[in-house]
Structure formats: C-alpha cells, structure tokens
C-alpha cells in the first residue's frame, strides 16, 4: 500500500472513478492529497455563475464533494489542495515536487472540447511526471 498518494481531481465523473480505483492501492494509513487546479480562465465562470457571497473555498470543495464523501466513508485520511494555473503544468509540478508515492488521475476531465484544444492533462502527466502514474479510464 502507498504511504502517500496524489489524486488530481476536477470533480468530473472520471475523477470520481479515479478515486474509486485508488482504493486498490491505499488503506487507512495512506495520506491522500486531492489536488484541484483552478484554471485562470475558469475564474470568470466561477464569478458569473457562482454565488456572490460566502466562502470561495467552500464552493470549490462543493464540486469535489462526491470524492470527499467517498473517502470519508472508507476511512481514508485526505487533504484538499487548490492551486491556480494551467491544469497540466500544475499537476506535473505538484507531483514532481512533493513527496508522493504515486499520482492517480482520470483520463479525461470536465470539458472534452477544451481537452481537444489544449491537449490532455493525463497525456502530459504520463509523459512528464517522474513518480508512478495511474490513469483511470
């Protein structure tokens, strides 16, 4: 079992499946870090479609709630980290610069069109991350 694990999650169905799959590699002694990257372009949507008052962090956690609930039910210790930047570069940086045993992520994120335009996050991670990478279909 891994001691530490990095899960890159955007709240999509695929990222939830990645969390489910990660259960095969972790137990209650594993510390999971859930990384959610907030793209600079996403912030416009956040402001236009989000509530104007209240806590930004709470709202950002909201979209990961399915994964957080899932880990809680299974007694997994986790922390949530939000980073700003381009999703692919940020995931690669965090994975390579932290003390993680492995990176888990879904093949495809929330937005197929963007993935097509910008290149897949999982593809870049597989190429440039130096720790073991598990890409979940």
């Amino acid at each position: 079992m891994y001691k530490t694990l990095l899960l890159a999650a955007d709240g999509s169905e695929n990222s939830f499946r990645a969390a489910e799959e990660s259960m095969n590699f972790i137990d209650e002694n594993t510390r999971v870090t859930i990384l959610n990257v907030i793209g600079t372009d996403d912030v416009k949507n956040e402001v236009l479609h989000g509530s104007q008052s209240g806590n930004v962090t709470a709202r950002r956690k909201e979209k990961l709630s399915r994964i957080l609930d899932f880990y809680e039910e299974n007694g997994i210790t986790y922390e949530v980290v939000f980073e700003h930047g381009s999703p692919a570069d940020t995931v690669v940086n965090v994975a390579n610069n932290g003390a993680f045993d492995a990176l888990v992520l879904g093949t495809r994120g929330l937005n197929n069109f963007q993935e097509m335009m910008l290149g897949s996050v999982s593809h870049k991670a597989a190429k440039r991350v130096t720790i073991p990478v598990l890409i979940v279909k």
């Binding site: 372009d41 912030v43 416009k44 236009l48 479609h49 989000g50 104007q52 700003h84 290149g119």
Partner: protein, 484 residues
C-alpha cells in the same frame, strides 16, 4: 502603511515586470481596435490605455488588475463621436471621471452586490455580441484578400498559443501579417485608411468645447453611461482577479481610482476606459500580483507607441477584426445556454432581457440598469407572496403561514383567510413566517379581531423570536391569544 506599499508594489518585481510587458504587447491591437469602434484616431485609444494603466496602478483598489481603453466604453461613445466629434468625447471622459469619483466616495462598491449574476451574464454577452457586430463592416464586402487575412489571423490566434505560451498570439498575428502586407501589398484596408495618426507624447489639453449648459446637456447622458459601464466591468473584473489570486480588494477605492484615471485621461487626449477582463486574466496568468505589473503595462505601451508609431497606420484592418472576433468569443459566457435552460425562469428572462435591451439601444448601461430593475421587481414579487395553508377538522380550523409578512405582502395574506366562519377554534401557525413591520402586526390584529367578532376563539402560535418581539411591543393581542 509602508509595509503595505512595499507588498503591493515590490513583491516579486521580476515576474511582475515581465507580466506587464506581455500585457502591453497584448494591449496594442485591442487599444487600436477599440479606437476604431469608437470612431476615433487610434492614438486616442493608445494614449488612454497608457494613461489609465499608469494612473490606476497608483489609485486603483485591485493590484494586478489591468485597466485601459475598453470595448465597453468605446461602444457607448460611438454615437457621441459620430455626431459631435472627438473633443466632446474628451469632455465626456472628464465628466465620467468626476461621476465615478463621486460614486466611489458614496461607496457604490457595496451596491455592486445588487447586480445579480443574471445581469452580469447579460452584460458580458451583450458586450461580446456588440464587439463582434462592430467587426462585420471591416470583414464583409471589401475584398478577397480581406477574407484571407482574417482567416490567417484567426488561425494564428487560436493555434499559436498551443505552441508558445509566453508571447501574446494577437501580437504575433499583428507583426507577421503587417510585415506580409508591407511586402506583398494585398488589397486590404489599413488603419491609415480610417484616420490620421500622429506620434507624440500626450500633452495636457483642455477639450475644445464651449463651456455651456448645451454642452453639458450633450455629454451628461454619455458620461453617466460611460461611468456606469466602466464601474460594472471594473468591479466584475476585480471580483475575477480576487478569485484568481485568492485575495480581497477595496471596491470603493477602485471606483474612485477609475474616476481619477478617466478624469486625467480626458485632459491628455485619451478616451475613457475601465478594467479589462481579458487583459487582467493574461496578467494574472503570467504570475502578476502587484501594482508594478499594471504600471509596467502602461509605461511599456507608451514606449512601444513611440517606437512603432509610424507602423500603426500600416496595420491591415482584417487583422484587427480577427483579433476582435477572438476577443468577443473569449468575452461571451458560453455557459449561458445551459443557464437559460436551467436557471430560475425569472433569472433567465432578466439575462436575455439585458442582452436584448443593449442590442436594441446600443447602450450597455441601459441594459444593466433595466436588468437590475427587473430582477428587483421579480424579487419583490416573489418575496411579497405569503402562502396560507388551511386545514379544517371538526370545530377547529388551522392556518399555516409561510413567507415574509410586511407591508407589501399583507394583502396576499389577508385574501387567503375566510372571515365568514363562526363559532370555531382557530389556530394561526406562524412557524414558516416572519413578521417584519407594524403593518404586519396590525394585519394580524385585524384578522384576530374579525374572527372574534363572529365568536371564534383565536390562538396565535409559533412566532419566531423577532416576530414575537414586535408583536409584544405593537400588538393588542393578549396572553390568551399567545397561550399555546
């Protein structure tokens, strides 16, 4: 204080200076294109961008936000320039600044909370559509080469960022295609065909308009619209930068700062402006966090104007049109279609109404104001409805009240009560309601009195703490009514 100045100016100066330079490069095509939308010489937009960016770096409330000449303000002033000329635009810009400073002093930043998302979404969509439509005359029915240049521009601005991220793609399109134009001389219109351009440092001028009430009558409506549009876009952008940097900013200081920047710009021959969503995002994406980035953007832009001034007239129009098409696609809120279907019907209506009003009146400010009025009316209608649920069992009647009970909603409440019943036990349950004012208390007193006139026994129950307090202070109800 000193600590704060140091933090807001000199945190990571290298990163911030580089980010500012990138923004300056990205500003050039936009400032020129927005000038053309407004119908003024490109220098009017370039000067404005330089002065607004430099001034706002000192006076603004949101470090790392970029302000310059914008499409939103340009669209508002088009009719003024067409009918009265550029001098009136400068005078209107000065007055716009005075209005914004006043609004800032009156702490209008707080009022922004009353602009709902539906109006904001309508605003950005209307802005995007209008910028797009303003390009059509530069695209269609001119020449075959125009279409070719436009297509190449679009290819560059959408494909280049995938290969190189650091250099703004619009600038690459501008340089490469202007060079191509100078070499091959295709059949396209250039910036020079639309207006004169002069290269000099901006100097202090007093707008050449008669200082009369007549002048004020002409410019005041425009100044008001410019001030409103400028503040709406600026404060929306400030919220976006707040979220992107996980920090807070002073919205009232920003309003005052915008006013000061526009006031000064008018005296230096620049058109009005405001914060720019797209440019601010570019700045933050490049790692900017401080005022130095905004200052650098303005200062470096001026340097570029002086160096490149002669070339500006040679820029083919289809390049700028292509860049504006990209700007409008980036400005449009593509989540709107889902929003129109999924949001509450009144919200979707307000969003679409805002867009339609802007498109019909060509006035973004009017769209925002009418959008806000309609959403306030919808809110008032929604809140002034009290639901009364009735249950009858033998000789007792149970009324359950749900909603906000105040002067505007008591009619709706009273109409749902049946005052013809007699000799019953009546329970009035307020567990789902809140009494707000003396009209509410008076209405309940009246209802109880009317019921009692027909020999009913009336009990009032489940008032929440606030409601109980005003009932105790204002009502004629006695302990017996409130027993349960």
């Amino acid at each position: 204080m000193l600590e704060n100045i140091k933090k807001e100016w000199f945190t990571q100066p290298g990163t911030n200076i580089l980010a500012g330079i990138v923004v300056a490069l990205a500003l050039i095509p936009e400032a020129i294109a927005f000038s053309i939308i407004a119908g003024v010489d490109p220098m009017v937009g370039l000067y404005a961008s330089f002065i607004i960016a430099v001034v706002i770096s000192f006076t603004g409330g949101r470090p790392a936000m970029i302000s310059a000449a914008t499409g939103a303000v340009a669209l508002v002033v088009t009719p003024l320039v067409r009918e009265h000329g550029v001098e009136y635009l400068l005078a209107a810009t000065i007055l716009m600044g005075i209005i914004q400073v006043t609004l800032g002093v009156l702490k209008v930043g707080r009022l922004m909370k009353f602009i709902p998302n539906s109006v904001m979404i309508g605003f950005v969509n209307a802005l995007a559509i209008m910028i797009f439509m303003a390009q059509l005359e530069h695209i269609f029915g001119i020449s075959l080469d125009t279409y070719v240049y436009l297509a190449i521009t679009l290819l560059i601005v959408y494909i280049f960022p995938r290969l190189v991220k650091k250099i703004p793609a619009p600038l690459v399109a501008l340089v490469v295609l202007t060079a191509a134009y100078l070499m091959f001389g295709p059949d396209v219109r250039t910036v020079g065909d639309l207006g004169q351009i002069e290269r000099s440092l901006p100097g202090f001028i007093i707008p050449d308009v008669p200082f009369t009430m007549e002048t004020l009558r002409i410019i005041l409506p425009f100044s008001l619209s410019m001030a409103v549009v400028g503040l709406v876009e600026s404060l929306l952008t400030a919220r976006i930068v707040d979220n992107a940097t996980d920090s807070f900013s002073n919205k009232n200081r920003e309003s005052r700062g915008q006013g000061i920047a526009n006031f000064i710009t008018g005296f230096f021959g620049g058109m009005g402006g405001c914060a720019m969503i797209g440019q601010s995002v570019i700045n933050v994406r490049s790692g900017a966090t401080t005022r130095l980035s905004t200052f650098t953007a303005g200062a470096f832009l001026m340097f570029l104007i002086i160096v490149l001034g002669d070339l500006v007239v040679q820029i083919p129009m289809p390049i700028l049109a292509g860049i504006m098409v990209m700007v409008s696609i980036g400005t449009f809120d593509w989540g709107s279609f889902k929003y129109a279907l999924k949001a509450p019907r009144t919200d979707a209506f307000v969003m679409i109404l805002t867009v339609i009003i802007v498109l019909f009146t060509s006035n973004l400010a009017l769209g925002v104001i009418i959008g806000v009025i309609f959403s306030a009316l919808f809110f008032a209608t929604k809140i002034s409805r009290v639901d009364v649920h009735t249950e009858t069992a033998g000789s007792s009647i149970y009324y359950l009240f749900q909603g906000q009970i105040f002067f505007a909603s008591i009619d709706s409440m009273m109409n749902q009560l049946d005052f013809n019943i007699h000799d019953k036990n009546i329970e009035l349950d307020f567990s789902g309601a809140h009494l707000w004012d003396d009209s509410a208390v008076e209405a309940i007193d009246t209802a109880v009195k009317k019921f009692e006139e027909k020999s009913n026994k009336v009990y009032v129950k489940q008032l929440n703490a606030d409601s109980r307090k005003i009932v105790r202070e204002l009502s004629r109800l006695n302990e017996q009514h409130l027993m349960q």
